[in-house]
């Protein structure tokens, strides 16, 4: 356990010293992860709501597919995005490989199914509750989806946090498409993997402690904002 407490002390020390390299890595981690979660929400919220609210042929298949895609292996997604963005791949001309943009794309692919699948669940239950009101109001499909998403917004915040958790913890995909390049695409998880491979286990653990602290801080901030928004709405 000596290693763990040493790591904890070192982690606190790195943060207190505001180590420039660490701050850069944390900043990129947050940028990549939050961007990917935002993009995944833009895709996943309407998609999940549509599957949850509408009756159409193949709906069960779509639900199964969304749920299954929640378990996409990051390494496989990383490979697919790599082959797509590679100079020899179909989107090679964009020159996105080994950039933060490529990492955002890969994490979006990973997170969007999580957001969509959980949104479907939330919206489907709400839709059942609201069915009569929707019928009496004569709302069109678009109005229905918007009303459902709006009324489920607090639950959907938790959905977004689930996606954030997945993106924060992920290393396989960003390692392949980002390349873990110093000062360009190095994020917390790839830095931890690198220090582990150098045999600097204590420093790797210290970075892990920092990463967990960041996840707690982001989640805490969102939950606090949500609580005050609820108070304002119903206070």
């Amino acid at each position: 356990m000596d290693g763990f407490w040493g790591a904890l002390a070192r982690a606190v020390g790195l943060i207190l010293a505001w180590d420039a390299e660490l701050i850069e890595i944390i900043g990129l981690s947050l940028r990549v992860t939050l961007s990917a979660v935002a993009a995944a929400c833009l895709i996943g919220l309407p998609l999940g709501a549509a599957v949850g609210a509408f009756r159409f042929p193949g709906r069960i298949a779509a639900t199964v597919a969304l749920n299954a895609l929640m378990g996409l292996p990051p390494v496989v997604v990383g490979l697919m995005v790599y082959l797509t963005l590679s100079a020899s791949g179909p989107l090679g001309v964009l020159g996105l490989l080994y950039t933060p943009a490529a990492m955002i794309v890969a994490q979006t692919v990973l997170v969007a199914p999580i957001v969509a699948a959980l949104t479907r669940q939330v919206v489907e239950e709400l839709d059942r509750e609201y069915a009569e009101q929707f019928a009496s109001l004569g709302l069109g499909p678009l109005g229905r989806v918007r009303a459902l998403l709006w009324d489920a917004r607090y639950a959907l915040l938790t959905v977004a946090l689930a996606g954030f958790g997945r993106a924060t913890a992920e290393v396989g995909a960003v390692m392949i498409v980002g390349g873990n390049i110093d000062h360009a695409t190095r994020v917390m998880t790839t830095a931890i993997a690198l220090e582990t491979s150098k045999g600097n286990l204590e420093l790797a653990l210290a970075l892990g402690v920092v990463l967990i602290a960041i996840a707690v801080a982001v989640t805490g901030t969102v939950m606090t904002l949500r609580a005050s928004a609820v108070r304002m709405a119903y206070g």
Partner: protein, 269 residues
């Protein structure tokens, strides 16, 4: 509120990468990166030319395959045969010797196979095989893995038949394999630079070294623009020329850990 948050986040994503356009991607190996060599020499090169070198560090096999897809402007690896094939296939302009160091067999202090002090590496491996002592192999088609397989062949042993028993193929980089080796008390073939820079040695130490067959040559190649039009050929050329120049070679020789030199420049001008 949610929507406003989303817009802010979308704007975050649109921020520029914050780096100059004058950069190249160098496909290289974990041994050169983990040893800290690039941290020393790349800032010197950048100060001289303004060119940033972005290093992707993977095994030699993967580095060559990435470069063969055009995903790199230059290649710095250690498998002469594979580098020559890369150039012969038209992916690279030319291959140059740039530096060398050597491999060594590290193992637990207890040394169950009794190989400490041996100067004949294939014979040492044969002794490890006879003792069925655990051996951790890269198993990842890297330069070090290829060198290891050549040594087994020279010792007349086919370790693949023992895979999963005393012969453990990690399929990972040098550092990960060393972690496995020190963790399970296994012998490991490693390049000397990775070993010196490695932070989790536990009781392991170098047991076999000094065999001429443990020589480890690194080569550098600029990726061909004719074959891969998106390659930044001019910047890559500048980097290769600098690495082979007096200044680049001196920078390589200056890299030391605890007073020990890790790479020995040997470019032929």
């Amino acid at each position: 509120m949610i929507r406003r948050g989303l817009i802010v986040l979308a704007l975050l994503a649109a921020l520029p990468a914050g780096a100059a356009d004058r950069f190249i991607v160098l496909q290289s190996t974990t041994s050169t990166r983990n040893s800290g060599l690039f941290d020393l020499i790349l800032p010197i090169f950048r100060a001289r030319t303004g060119i940033e070198v972005r290093v992707v560090a993977v095994g030699t096999g993967q580095a060559i395959r990435n470069a063969a897809r055009g995903d790199g402007d230059a290649l710095l690896v250690h498998d002469r045969e594979a580098e020559r094939r890369f150039v012969a296939a038209g992916h690279g302009t030319a291959r140059h010797d740039v530096m060398y160091n050597d491999f060594a067999i590290v193992g637990p202090r207890a040394d169950p196979a009794g190989v400490a002090g041996m100067a004949d590496a294939p014979a040492a491996l044969a002794r490890i095989a006879r003792a069925r002592a655990p051996f951790a192999s890269r198993g990842d088609d890297s330069g070090t893995h290829k060198a290891e397989l050549r040594l087994w062949r020279a010792g007349g042993i086919d370790p693949a038949a023992q895979s999963g028993r005393w012969y453990r193929e990690t399929g990972s980089g040098m550092g990960a394999t060393l972690n496995v080796g020190t963790g399970m008390g296994a012998y490991v073939l490693t390049d000397r630079a990775s070993w010196i820079a490695f932070g989790n040695k536990r009781g392991h130490r170098i047991l076999v070294e000094g065999d001429a067959r443990l020589f480890n040559q690194y080569g550098i190649v600029a990726v061909s623009k004719r074959r891969h039009p998106r390659v930044k050929a001019k910047l890559a050329r500048e980097f290769v020329d600098w690495m082979l120049s007096g200044e680049g070679q001196a920078a390589i020789a200056a890299h030391r850990i605890d007073g020990r030199q890790l790479f020995f420049p040997n470019a032929r001008r």
